[in-house]
Assembly symmetry: C2
């Protein structure tokens, strides 16, 4: 299996494949062949199996899941490639599978992922692609969970050494980390450079913003601007909004930062900000997991291939 | 030898010691005893030897250096303690030795170090201490060399993916790193997390600002504000500026970012910004290296001790 480059701070693998079983039509338009959608990473791997509806124009909704399995690492550097040669294999960036999980396999529109890292990735109808952000913390992904939490930690240090205003973040974060002084944050950040460990503080920042702390609120408002800007940059480069700027296109919203479901709803604010410039942007929160997105993507690839073959 | 905590991103050791030779007065007020000033770190260690002027009120200027030696690591975890028990040993944060290198051993005023990292450290006449910044890159030392260069790299990525304005930084930095596209910066930053490697790009940012690039100029202006704010926070907490805010105090300026000596002079701008609020702040650029500062500091400690003894 292949390990794809960086996107949102996590290297994932998405593979869609078709087992070459006998072609035997069932009553529902499927045959005995299947598609496996795989969301694979260094920590864990999710695999779902859906039937191959080869004669359908569109998939049934909800997508029928024949089976689902979770296992460990699928980094090909660790475990090697394990598929027999007759399996058709498609490998894509995890942002592409995330987009497909919201658009039921169609590659059109933009996906915004904001978890530990963040990335915006889009496809135009003609197949052109563009991305923004997703370059990692050194290169300024400030709307990511890591970015938000690092700014909050910085605000605590600044309040402590006299450079910034006092903030509720100090007590909230020290309590969450069982530390007794902001000075101890320096050792805490040096002890373990894991971005996910820092990003885990986002709920504390949201709590403080909900309690009207001005420092926390500014951090979230800036993150909203940053995340919206990533989507806007992709939309503009791909002209997803059409000639008049009012064209309709989906924005698939994925990741813990956008799924907060709190009073201070980062995802909702990001969409508001995008729609001020592009009123045709409509948000989609995926109803299926990325592995299903990968399977739907594979189904779409196969349909295109078979259409191409029947025309030739 | 002791390894002191973090200050400007580099852990250094400063030790001042007096060899217990026979006390035998020379014509110049010194005797045969000496002070060793040591600026020790993980990579290299500088040691200077000055005579102990036990009967003088002040040291001769320039300080007579009897000897100077450079060697490798002096991290006590690696090489252990090597001094005989009769040697008096003082260990201080490297920011303290840097302050002493500008004030000829007197601990009063504020030092601002801006190299790969940055820190502001101050002492009041009554011995109170305060610091600001110096918490590392995760915790927002944006005026440091690392901070300036990381912002410049971010600006290149943002110009490339459509989130930010075009900037001269793109060509300048890609050329300096022998890369052909901004996309390659992602791999470049992931390849080696060393802060010093990123901070080495500061001269490229200064060049672009000197050529009136607006993005580079804004990065430097923000860094100036950040560095000045670190000093101001220390000055305010220690009341270095006196009751009326106009009191005189030294600001010792150390580190590559402040010693640029370019048309766009970061250090000069930082001082201007400090003096707008505290007109009594006067800049000192040390004429001696930190190891000499450490020796001068040791001399001052000894004079205080002997004065204390003669009064008791």
């Amino acid at each position: 299996m292949n390990n794809y480059g960086e996107s949102n701070g996590d290297s994932n693998v998405h593979e869609k494949q078709v087992e070459g079983h006998d072609h035997c039509e069932n009553g529902d338009g499927s045959d005995n062949r299947v598609i496996l959608g795989i969301d694979g990473g260094t920590t864990s791997t999710v695999c779902v199996c859906i039937p191959l509806f080869s004669s359908s124009k569109s998939l049934p909704n909800p997508t029928p899941i024949l089976g689902r399995a979770v296992s460990g690492c699928s980094n090909h550097n660790s475990v090697g490639e394990i598929f027999p040669s007759h399996v058709k294999l498609y490998v894509q960036n995890d942002a592409v599978a995330a987009l497909a999980s919201g658009t039921m396999g169609k590659l059109h529109g933009c996906v915004l992922i904001a978890g530990t890292g963040c990335i915006s990735y889009g496809f135009a109808e003609d197949g052109r692609e563009a991305r923004a952000s997703g370059a990692g913390p050194v290169l300024g992904d400030w709307g990511s969970g890591y970015g938000i939490a690092a700014k909050a930690l910085t605000a605590v240090i600044r309040a402590h050494d006299g450079r910034g205003p006092q903030t509720m973040l100090t007590n909230k974060i020290l309590k969450a980390l069982s530390l007794s002084s902001p000075d101890e944050l320096i050792g805490w950040t040096y002890a373990d450079p894991s971005w996910a460990r820092i990003a885990a503080l986002v709920p504390e920042v949201v709590s403080c913003a909900e309690a009207c702390d001005q420092v926390a609120t500014k951090i979230l408002v800036d993150a909203v601007q940053d995340l919206a800007l990533s989507v806007k940059a992709v939309v503009q480069r791909l002209h997803l909004c059409g000639e008049d700027g009012n064209g309709s296109f989906p924005v698939v919203m994925v990741g813990g930062v956008l799924e907060a479901n709190r009073t201070w709803d980062i995802g909702k604010e990001v969409m508001k900000c995008i729609q001020e410039q592009f009123p045709g942007a409509h948000p989609i929160r995926p109803q299926v997991e990325p592995a299903v997105g990968a399977a739907l993507l594979a189904w779409n690839f196969l349909m295109k291939e078979s259409t191409g073959n029947s025309h030739s």
